[in-house]
Structures are given as structure tokens and as C-alpha cells.
Homo-oligomer: 542 residues x 2
């Protein structure tokens, strides 16, 4: 259905994902008939009659890189590691947000980096940054290409060209310290490859965000990623013991100890820096032995508030699940938590929750029992292990569903935030109302679904999935709806992003997030490490 | 024995601690006879024959504050909240490190802040900072006055005067959110007062560093403090959900959510900023219900390596102690872990470890049982609960012991670091050798004792206590020994401070700690928020 680019048109190894959608084309699934019927009945959605754009039909802005600069780049990394073919460039033209995918469908000229460069070492990266600073070439670090916040947009204002710095060659497991439980992993390692290298030695990182199959260690660090096992293993930033970053003014190696009182924790400046302060090359991470045992149990709650209070009790009492998540009534009703069974028969009314436990047999048994007791006391009904296993089976597949919805002519996107437990219900209501009202103002009813997937002693995340009909230019339509949702997040006391990061899409809300002084601090740090401003311009820092 | 200052000589409320030693004079204890004998026999230490300096005999540098500037300060906070009396100034002249206490004994002119100012609100602090920037007056934020790294030194180079900004009036429990488990506490609240206000409502913060009785919430945040219950409740920086900071260029309010991917975590810049980037006024902290039950058990290990491996197993398996600590053979031999029984009969040979468990009856029983199993399997012998209770009873009293040792004519000081588990033994040996060799070079044998008091999945802290004879000028003697120890810490891969912070004393090692780029970043942030450089000059940032 989708025209894939032909590998023989590329001069470099390509990112493994579809050029105009998520993931592996072989895994794409057409929408189930009853979902299509629902879309038609509820929102009047019908598939577009326009033929889909083929990759070969895409018109890219011509590469602005001069032959001289191409030669300079090649002199540093080798000619075989510089690509300017349209296919090389198209595959690094952006991330995978709905606006990104809508942009890929455009018959107008599409912007893309002018070249793709694959460095093989920190020395090469340092030399590239020096060259780019001198030649005023912008540099967009590229990991798995899974950004959903415009983090990869080739912003070129004020620059002679923009290159995509694809870090895939930094793919080593540098070291594993089995005593301390630490591994140093190359920034270009994908989630699966990192876990494979660790598993060969009996270890696991345990970071499983939805982007796991494609995203990289460097990307996880640069975006403060949070994985689905965060209840057990923490966010990615919790796992980081140290990191190495090449900046245009020198290399940084931070993290001398598990914890320190030696001044501000500068690791926390580079975590979440989204390529604007330096190129993360290697990350020292806490790892743990592969779990011996896993246990699963799914639950039903009569309503979201009861379920949220139950998750809060589990987290505040630290009973020990590795995964704990709760779908609201709307998400439960369409079975969204079990992506591969979407639209199939639901296993419960009310709200579905999923728990997974990992560790030694003893740890799993004890954690499971403690968690059970708390959940049952808080109003849960057990649904047995099958729905939890089904959730896990489809845990990385939701983005395929979005592709199918877009293909079917629906507007579909996700967004997320986090706040304290006391404000969670109000924030959820506020964001839901903002989405619903803003979409209605564009002429469509909508379906807003929500889940909690990350819990903390003091609060939790909220992840929204929105489906509606496209009205007018869907990119413009969504831009307005997204603005309304972001304003509602800020008004409700949430963070503008719990785990998707800032990129270009959330940048307008950063001053509200960190204040005017905070923005000045980020700019000062940026000016210090990247005085020419070449690193991922237009992202993160207002 | 020690001449205390007379309160009627002060114009402001005074810090509660002795002017020339730790804590409450009523709690000071002369050294047990056998320790005195040991000091004499091992190191030839004899009490000084010089009479101790009385507070009234101290000659302070005259206050450099002009009458006009005093009036300006008084116009902001009220005349009753500005003090320039020698007693006011002497009590804020420095912290409580051994070099500080040696300095207090000097008959030469002693430096002190030119005035003490007690602001009552953020607005007053902002106005004070604006005035001080204009008048080029340096500002040293003052909490409990417990710094042991020279964090309070009145560095005046380049300034017309220096004031101590005593934050004791910021002493409110601003709010308690029992759903989210969060409290907003004023920066000037001492540890005991904060716990008292929370306990009235059934809650606890659970941060118990050795400085607990005097240090403040703002100080804990500014120094990245770590409490003795860190295994259960985390370091202070782990507890911080948000904080408010008044900088000379605007007020910062950080922390919109329990966790966020909205760029770098700027809270982590102000945590550990030691008064150089702003004045922390209030901290939003994670709190928990008061524990229903506590359990205690002490342990004996044949040697330090076996004990350390056992602590590592407990922490990596997350079996759940609130406190876990291990004394080495030397510390165990003098019973130092039970401060109030120092020199008394020891309860074990080898190495003493202490565990404490807190929570609900069920949590305590389960955590205790799991921890027991791991420790016993790792080579521990139970010593029952009494030694652990004795440790807790004396947990805040070790600094009194140092005072007594100094009074007895011995040189005594502590220092600390942290590293990964794999390097812990080597780092301990390296620092011990550096201390022993450096002291020997000054002409004295020494006793170097060590304990682990903070554990992490990937590593642990090392806390050293050193006793030797004074040789020559003890301040100069210690300065050389401290340099050797710090160099050994850096050579061994440790951090220059795990929980004492940087101040003036560790500043020479900061470039090694965070690198040249890291130093430039700190300077840039400093220049951005404090362009006049008035905030705590000479501390932290090289």
C-alpha cells in the first residue's frame, strides 16, 4: 500500500523505519472493519480518494551543501559515510509525529537535511562540529528517528546548510561492570541491540518505551525518555550514572560517582538537551541481571478515579510492580491497551489496569502478593493474567495503529503530561475538554482516550490518544488543537512533556515551564558550549 | 570550659550552636580516660597548656559596612533585623570544619561578615540582592551554620562589604498535600522544626544527616545533603519535587511535575549551588506518613570487604532497610559507630554493621526478613538490636567528640567520597594510605577509620575519620593532609564530595570533578543569574 523507498537509491545504510510512517512495513495492519465503521458512523471519516504519494514522487529541497563542504565532511569521516542522495536525506527529514507524517504526504517541496554524515568516533564528531561551526552548517543529531515533537526538523535559518548526524556507528557495548551493575553503551545502539548485547552476558537495561525497537541509547538520554517498566526500573534519566558528550567547545565526561554533592548535577543539563548542547556519544547506565521470573495480572476498576487511587496506593507503598498502568473508560471501551486486539471484544467495562512483576521467583511472588492486596483493597477485580500478557504482546505496536487511522482518513495523535496525584483528575478533565472543544470548533466530534503509564510517589503521567475526522488541512487543524491542549496542560499545572520531550512542537510553552530565568540559563549554557549555535537549531530553547 | 558568648551582647537571635564548636554546650562531653590514654600512648597527644580563647577576647575585623548601607539594609528588612554587633557577626563567621574551629581559636584578627541580615520574605530578599549588587556587597546565605567545607567564609575580595543572610525567618510549613505526599517547607526551617511541623499532621520528611539538629531545609538543598536514612528515603535531592529561588535577576520556581521531559532538569542546577546562584526560599518535598513501626538489628562481619559485599547485595536486591551502614575494622575497634559509647567495650571484632527498618508492621517485618536472609548468606553474624539502637541514640553526636579531641590537643577531622562498588576497596585503601603518609610526613602517626553510610545500586559512600597529633600549626598541617586525601580521591575515581559539598575547601578539585567545559558552564550560569557576582563569592565555582 505504501510505496517504500528503494534501498538502491540510497548511498548510506538507512533508518529501518518506513519513510512515511512507523516501523516495519511488514507489520502494518489495515484497520479492523468495526473500527472503520465506527469512524464512519461517529465522525463521518472516509478514506481519502487521493492516491498516496510514492517516495519517488517526493520533491525535496535541493541539497544546499557545497561540493567543497561535502569534501571537507568526507575528509573527516570518509566519503562512504557522507550521503546526499534524496533517499538518504528523505529518511532523516523528520520524526514520526502526526504533523511529520502529514508533511511526508505533501506534494509541495519537502525540506530535508542537505547531507547525512555517519561519524565513527568522538574525534570525528569533534572535527565535524569544528568544521560546521566554521562553515556555519547546522547539525541535527539523529538516533532512531522516532521523535514525535519535531526534534529532527532541519531548521536552516541563518545557516549555509544543515546536516543530519546519524550516530548509528557508535554501536559498541564499551564495558560491563558486573560488580557495580553498570554498562557503558554507545549512543547509536538501538534498544533491541543494546538489550541483545547485555543479554548475552546475562544482564538487562530494562528501558522499554514505545519507540524501543528503533530509538537509541543517545536518543533516550537526549530526550529524558521513560520506558513502560519505569515503575520497576525508573526513567532513563534515573538509570544514567554518567555520560560523554562532544560539544563544539570540548568533550564532557560527567558522573564520577553514583551520587555526589560536588555542586550542581551537570548530567541533568545534558539529559534532555535534545542535541542542542552537544552530541551524546556514550552513556554509563545502571543495569540489572535478567529477570528469572515474570508474573502478569490484569485488573478492572469501576472508574478512572478509583483506579488512579489504587495505582497511587501501590506506588506510595512501594509494593514493587515493574509495570503498572491504567486505561480510562474510553480507552478500555475500544480495547486500546491491547493494541493488537483493538476493536476486538473488551475484557472488561470500567477501566482496565495491567501489572507485570519481574525479578527472582521470591521477589516476584512477594511483590505480586503485596500489590494484589493493595489493589483488591482499593476496589480492583482481577481479570487474570491474559489481558496483561496481551498488553505486553502489543506494547510497541500502537504507532502502527495511528498509521492505519491516518490512512483511513482519520486524524489521530497522542500527547502526554504529568502532575501530582492531587491534581491528576482535574488535569485529565481539563485536557480532555480542551481537545474535545478545539476539535468540535474545527467541525468534528472526537474520541479522547487516556491512560496512566508512569507513576511516582507524588504523581503520575497522563497519556492521551485523540481520534477525530480530518477537517480542512489536517496539519493546520491539529496545530490549533495541539495549542489548546498544551494551554490546558499548563493551566492545569502539568508539565508540557513527561516523556516525549520538547523539540519544536513544545518550545512555545518552555518559558511557562521553566520561567524567564530558566530560559536565560538554557541560552547561556547553549552560548557557552555551542557559541556558533550550530547544534539542532530551533529546538527546545525558546 | 568553653566561654560562651553572652546573648545580651547580640542584637539578633543567634544560631543555637557554640561559637567555637559544635552544638549545644550542655551536650559536650570530655573525652573518656582510655581514649585520652590511647591518644597519649599512640600519638603523644597532650592537652594544650595555652588557655582557651574566650569569645570576648576574639578580635574581629571591624565591620566594613558604611552607615548609609546599613540604613539601606534596614529600610528593606527593618532595623531590628540587621545586626552589626561583634557577637552577631562572630556567630556567622564560618562553619564547623576543623579548620573553622582552629580559626576560631586564633588570637589574630578573625574575619567575619560585616553585618547579619534577617529577611522575612522573598520580596525582601529580592530587594536586598538588588541593593547589594548596586553597592557591591557580597551576600553569604546562612542556614544552620553547619558547613564543614568553608561554605560560609566571608570572602570579600572585590566587594565593599559582605553580609550574612540568615534565613531563619523563612520558617513556615507552607502547605501539605496529603494525597500527593508533598510538603512545601520554608528554607529557614531547621531539621527538627520541619519534622515537628510535619509530625503534628502525621507526616515525616525523614532526612537525618549528622547536622540534622541545626541545619536547615534551604541548606540541605543548597548542599545536596544526604541523610542517614538515605537507603530508605533517598538523598535530599531525591526528595525535592520543586524549589523556589530568588536570584539577583529574577525568581525561579522549578518543578511542575514529579518527572518531566521538558528539557534539562534545572532544579539540579540549584540543588548543590551552595548559595552561589540564588537564595533558596522554599522547597517542595516528598514526605511520607510517620512510620508505625521500627526494627533494629546490628551485625558483625569478619572484614570490611565481606561487609561491603553484603551491603551491595542488600541494595542491589532492594530488600528495603531504611538505614544500612558498615564500620571498618578500625572504626569498629574504637566503637566509633556508637558515638556515646566511644572507647567503651566493643560489641564485636571485625566490622560492625547497623540496619534499621521503618514503615508499616508488614513492611518492616518483610524488609527485615529479606535483609536478614541476604546479610546472613553474605557472612554476617547477628548482634541483636541493642548496638543498632545505640548507634541511633548517638547518631547526631559525633561532632561533639571531635570538639573533645581538639580540646585534648589532637587533630581530628572527617572527609568523605563515593564511588562504584567495583572501585570501593581500592579507593578506601588509596585514601587511607594518603592520609597516613601525609600525616606521617608531618611527624605523627594516625588513626584512619572509615564507614559506608550511603548505598546505591551501583556504588556507595566512604566516610573517613582521622585522628593524629597536632604538629606545628595544625591548620597548615591539616591543609596539606587534606590536599593529599583529595588528590587520592580523584586518583581513585571518587567524587570530591558525596554529601559535604564543595565550599572553598573542595573548590580546587572541581575542575577535575566536572571538567573544563563543566566549569565554564557553571560560570556562565553564574554570570547569567548573578551578573554582579555578589552571591557567596569564592565558593564552589573555580
Amino acid at each position: 500500500m505504501t510505496s517504500e523507498v528503494r534501498p538502491d537509491q540510497a548511498t548510506l545504510p538507512l533508518p529501518p523505519m518506513r519513510w512515511n510512517g512507523w516501523g516495519d512495513p511488514a507489520l502494518a495492519k489495515p484497520l479492523p472493519a468495526d473500527i472503520r465503521d465506527l469512524l464512519a458512523a461517529a465522525f463521518g471519516v472516509t478514506p481519502s480518494e487521493e492516491p498516496e504519494l510514492a517516495a519517488a514522487e517526493v520533491v525535496l529541497t535541493p541539497s544546499a551543501l557545497t561540493a567543497a563542504d561535502r569534501d571537507h565532511l568526507a575528509a573527516i569521516v570518509g566519503a562512504e559515510h557522507v550521503g546526499t542522495a534524496d533517499t538518504d536525506r528523505l529518511l532523516r527529514a523528520g520524526g514520526k509525529s502526526t504533523p511529520d507524517l502529514l508533511r511526508r504526504r505533501s506534494r509541495a517541496e519537502q525540506d530535508a537535511p542537505d547531507a547525512v554524515v555517519l561519524p565513527g568516533s568522538e574525534e570525528e564528531i569533534a572535527a565535524l562540529l569544528a568544521l560546521c561551526a566554521e562553515r556555519r552548517i547546522a547539525v541535527v543529531p539523529f538516533g532512531g528517528g522516532t521523535s514525535v515533537v519535531g526534534g529532527l526538523d532541519p531548521v536552516r535559518a541563518g545557516f549555509t546548510a544543515v546536516i543530519s548526524l546519524d550516530l548509528r556507528r557508535l554501536d559498541a557495548l564499551h564495558s560491563l561492570d558486573e560488580t557495580s551493575g553498570e554498562a557503558v553503551l554507545g549512543a547509536g545502539l538501538t534498544g533491541p541491540r543494546a538489550e541483545e548485547l547485555l543479554a548475552e552476558r546475562g544482564w538487562e537495561l530494562g528501558h522499554y518505551p514505545q519507540s524501543f525497537r528503533y530509538a537509541t541509547i543517545g536518543g533516550f538520554a537526549a530526550t529524558r525518555s521513560s520506558g513502560q517498566d519505569s515503575a520497576g526500573h525508573g526513567r532513563f534519566d534515573d538509570m544514567v550514572r554518567g555520560l560523554r558528550v562532544v560539544t563544539p567547545t570540548g568533550t564532557v565526561d560527567l558522573g564520577r560517582a553514583p551520587a555526589s554533592a560536588a555542586g550542581p548535577d551537570l548530567r541533568q543539563l545534558f539529559l534532555g538537551s535534545e542535541g542542542t548542547l552537544g552530541v551524546i556519544t556514550a552513556v554509563r547506565l545502571r543495569v540489572h541481571p535478567l529477570p528469572a521470573v515474570k508474573a502478569y495480572e490484569a485488573w478492572s476498576f469501576p472508574d478512572f478515579a478509583t483506579g488512579a487511587a489504587a495505582l497511587r496506593a501501590v506506588e506510595q507503598q512501594q509494593t514493587g510492580p515493574t509495570v503498572i498502568r491504567l486505561s480510562d473508560e474510553a480507552e478500555t471501551a475500544v480495547n486500546l491497551a491491547m493494541t493488537d486486539k483493538i476493536g476486538g471484544s473488551t475484557v472488561t467495562g470500567g477501566c482496565l489496569a495491567v501489572t507485570v512483576f519481574e525479578g527472582t521467583a521470591e521477589q516476584v511472588a512477594a511483590g505480586h502478593e503485596r500489590t494484589r492486596a493493595v489493589l483488591l483493597a482499593a476496589g480492583a477485580t482481577s481479570l487474570g493474567e491474559e489481558p496483561a500478557r496481551a498488553w505486553e504482546h502489543g506494547r510497541f505496536n500502537a504507532p502502527y495503529l495511528r498509521d492505519s487511522l491516518l490512512d483511513a482518513g482519520a486524524l489521530c495523535e497522542t500527547l502526554e503530561t504529568a502532575t501530582d496525584w492531587a491534581r491528576l483528575g482535574e488535569l485529565k478533565a481539563g485536557v480532555t475538554a480542551a481537545l474535545t472543544d478545539a476539535l468540535r470548533a474545527t467541525g468534528t466530534e472526537s474520541m479522547v482516550m487516556c491512560h496512566i503509564s508512569h507513576v511516582y510517589p507524588t504523581g503520575a503521567s497522563l497519556y492521551f490518544t485523540v481520534v477525530a475526522a480530518e477537517k480542512g488541512d489536517p496539519a493546520e487543524q491539529w496545530a490549533g488543537v495541539k495549542r489548546a491542549a498544551c494551554d490546558a496542560i499548563m493551566a492545569g499545572g502539568g508539565t508540557i512533556s513527561h516523556h516525549h520531550a520538547v523539540g519544536t512542537d513544545h518550545r512555545p510553552w518552555m518559558e511557562q515551564e521553566i520561567g524567564e530565568v530558566g530560559v536565560r540559563i538554557l541560552r547561556a549554557v547553549k552560548d557557552t558550549v555551542d557559541p556558533a549555535g550550530i547544534l539542532n537549531p530551533g529546538k527546545l530553547i525558546p
